[in-house]
Amino acid sequence: MDYFVNVTLTGLTQGMIYSAFALALVLIWRSTRIVNFAQGSMAAATTFIALALIQAGQSYWVALVVALASGFVLGAIVERVIIRPVEGGPELNAVIVTLGLFVAIQAGIAIVFGSSFQSFPTPFGVRGFEVGGTTIPLTPTSLYVIGSVLLVMALLVALFRFTRIGLAMRASAFSQEVARLLGVKVGGMLTLGWGLAAVVGSLSGLLIAGGTFVWPAYMDALIVFGFVAAIIGGLDSPVGAIVGGLILGLALSYVSGYAPRGSALVNISALVILIVVLLVRPGGLFSSTTARRA
């Protein structure tokens, strides 16, 4: 029984981490209709900026704010300088550019910050809570992660549902021509969308890093699971990203904990889960409309 609880809680915590990253993907998809493969290494870059500040003696919170701000700037610059020239062309072009960017930024991190393992501090503890004499794998840090992810999700839902900017961003992403005719400054909206998505990405990078280790490629494994989580959730829905992340985290933890040689089956299971979900609901669990394409 203890074991089941432990595996479940481990899965929930991992799932929240996938959700955090999936949220960033959802945001950029909703605001630009581009799947941003570079999200992972952009987040890693800002995490390393934060780490440099912490190592220089700044507090975690100062580093967090600076990382989020630099995430916004990085996102905006990437959109203006690198993505803008290929926007409006075939969809695939922009996606391939983000792939190239993914590799390039990772290499840049290694050059600037080195490629060694470094631990990333967390403002909260990494020891499990004690419940009735046994320690459960739920730490103050995991509560911080869960709380932050839910908060971001709520903010995103509010942004897209209740604000004019959110509406304008969705319109620009959905159809640039029509949006422009309706008086939306499409260019600005796209830049804003990239900037905000990079902020969320930066936050996810910091949350993922907290209390564990970072190296230039530390986001690699999470990128894949984050994508799967986002797709399970429908790529369009912040709530879906959370649910997708939790489903994936729990399922992978059960596979890892209960299947023979489970750890080796984790990656395959992620694919199986993805395929099953897409067979049942091709647009993902929370897609508003199926088969909608920009």
């Binding site: 203890d2 074991y3 432990n6 595996v7 481990t10 899965g11 915590t13 991992q14 290499a107 290694a110 490629s115 060694s116 393992f117 470094q118 631990s119 990333f120 501090p121 967390t122 403002p123 909260f124 503890g125 990494v126 020891r127 499990g128 004690e130 046994t134 320690t135 459960i136 794998p137 730490t139 103050p140 209390g211 564990t212 280790f213 190296w215 230039p216 490629a217 494994a221 999470l222 992978l252 933890s253 890892s256 904990g257 209960y258 040689r261 489970g262 750890s263 080796a264 984790v266 990656n267």
Partner: protein
């Protein structure tokens, strides 16, 4: 592309005149240096290697070639081997076997190395071992404890292991537990490949009935929560890990989350206290109270480590690093690289004044088991075995250092017995440059 025309010629003219000079530390006087084989000129010998300089495996391992380079630079200042400078060309394979094949092709076909030296990693080097043997390129001292490199010289006549293999290590650990912790309920935390399998096979020879769980992790999965939780659920109070350093740190962090406190025993590969301890200490500066999580864990050793500042080998390696090294401090990984370079120098000296690839292999088989050096126990090199060193001590990690709890014992693969090893440790020769006689055949 025609640059190697001269180099291929004189392979059979080797070492006729270099007989009685003895050591190779200085330029020979008797004969002329000739371009005796590919990668050998009158004044250079070129060696190659592949390492993960980037990527997941880079932390720690990327420091090894800097140690090798520093050693050869200092060696070259003292006259190299028979007056030849040793040139060391190493390339990044990012621990990706596809890239290992590519860079090894470049090393052999474009850079025209005389021999490989210290190519790192089991999955990576497995991708090129057939190619190197088909080309007849000596493949010295693979940096991995897999049995593949040494247990079957008929299949891989040009390949040699170097460090203690994982099976022998498992046996020595198993015997130690049986003798000192006969009541322990042992859990195994294993990397799900040859590394974990060989270690498990060795350890089970001694304590099969004490093992209550064997959990495997796949490298790349950053969550080991279910595995550690399973060890805890099985009631293991003594955990032996055959894992890489990053998973030592992950397993410690996960155990912290679970409030799980067994006696830990990490095999040599995963236990570098500086790397792992440095990673974990950062947390203790914050909210985690205890100073060093690894404190008190057990591990094995086959080489002196940097914390042993009174060890004469470490003192020599420190001097070499200060004089010929680059940025940063001397680390255990750099010591590893220097120790490999030392053995390589012994091999090149034994191969004679005008070495050939086949002559090099022959010399290692004939006299390699007699070499002394920084490694605690002798190598097992012969015509029938290309296995590296055979022995290990057992150490307890204390802070960033370690203290010996069991002196070196030696064994071999299979069901060979474990024996105590009572030979005095070798002391380094002048400048830590070996002085081996050329092997005459």
């Amino acid at each position: 592309m025609t640059a190697f025309a001269a180099a291929t010629v004189a392979s059979t003219l080797a070492a006729c005149g270099g007989g009685d000079e003895g050591g190779g530390g200085t330029a020979a006087e008797g004969g002329e240096n000739e371009a005796s084989d590919i990668g050998v000129t009158e004044d250079t010998i070129t060696l190659g290697a592949h390492y993960p300089l980037t990527g997941v495996a880079a932390p720690g391992y990327s420091e090894i070639p800097t140690g090798v380079q520093a050693y050869f630079d200092c060696l070259n200042q003292e006259g190299g081997v028979y007056g030849r400078d040793v040139e060391f060309v190493y390339k990044d394979d990012a621990y990706n076997p596809t890239q290992t094949s590519q860079v090894t092709n470049e090393l052999v076909l474009e850079d025209e190395i005389f021999a490989m030296m210290g190519g790192l990693g089991t999955p990576t080097h497995s991708a090129v071992v057939d190619f190197l043997n088909a080309e007849g390129v000596p493949d010295l001292f693979v940096a991995s404890g897999s049995l593949t490199w040494g247990d079957d010289p008929e299949t891989y006549p040009y390949t040699f292991g170097w460090q203690t293999d994982y099976m022998s290590e498992g046996k020595i650990i198993g015997e130690y537990i049986a003798e000192n912790f006969p009541e322990a309920k042992v859990g195994l935390f294993l990397q799900d490949d040859d590394f974990g399998e060989d270690g498990e096979a060795g350890i089970r020879q001694y304590i099969d009935d004490q093992i209550v769980a064997a959990e495997r992790y796949t490298p790349g999965n950053t969550s080991v929560g279910p595995q550690i939780a399973a060890l805890q659920a099985a009631g293991a109070d003594f955990v032996v890990g055959f894992n890489v350093p990053s998973y030592t740190a992950l397993s410690q962090l996960t155990a912290l989350q679970l409030g799980y406190q067994p006696q830990w025993f990490y095999s040599n590969v995963g236990s570098d206290p500086t790397l792992v301890g440095g990673l974990l200490n950062r947390f203790s500066e914050g909210k985690v109270a205890d100073a060093a999580l690894l404190d008190g864990a057990l591990t094995t050793g086959y080489l002196p480590t940097v914390d042993q500042t009174d060890n004469p080998w470490i003192q020599e390696f420190q001097r070499i690093w200060d004089e010929c090294g680059g940025e940063g401090e001397l680390t255990n990984y750099r010591v590893y690289g220097m120790a490999q370079a030392y053995t390589t120098t012994q091999a090149l000296q034994a191969a004679g004044q005008n070495p050939t690839r086949d002559g090099l292999v022959e010399a290692i088989e004939a006299v390699g088991s007699e070499w002394e050096g920084p490694v605690f126990a002798p190598f097992r090199y012969s015509e029938d075995s290309h296995m590296g060193t055979s022995g290990m001590s057992i150490e307890r990690i204390v802070g960033n250092g370690s203290e010996v709890v069991q002196d070196v014992r030696v064994t071999d693969i299979g069901d060979a017995p474990i024996e105590e090893f009572d030979k005095e440790p070798a002391t380094p020769p002048a400048n830590a440059i070996p002085d081996e006689e050329p092997y005459e055949g």
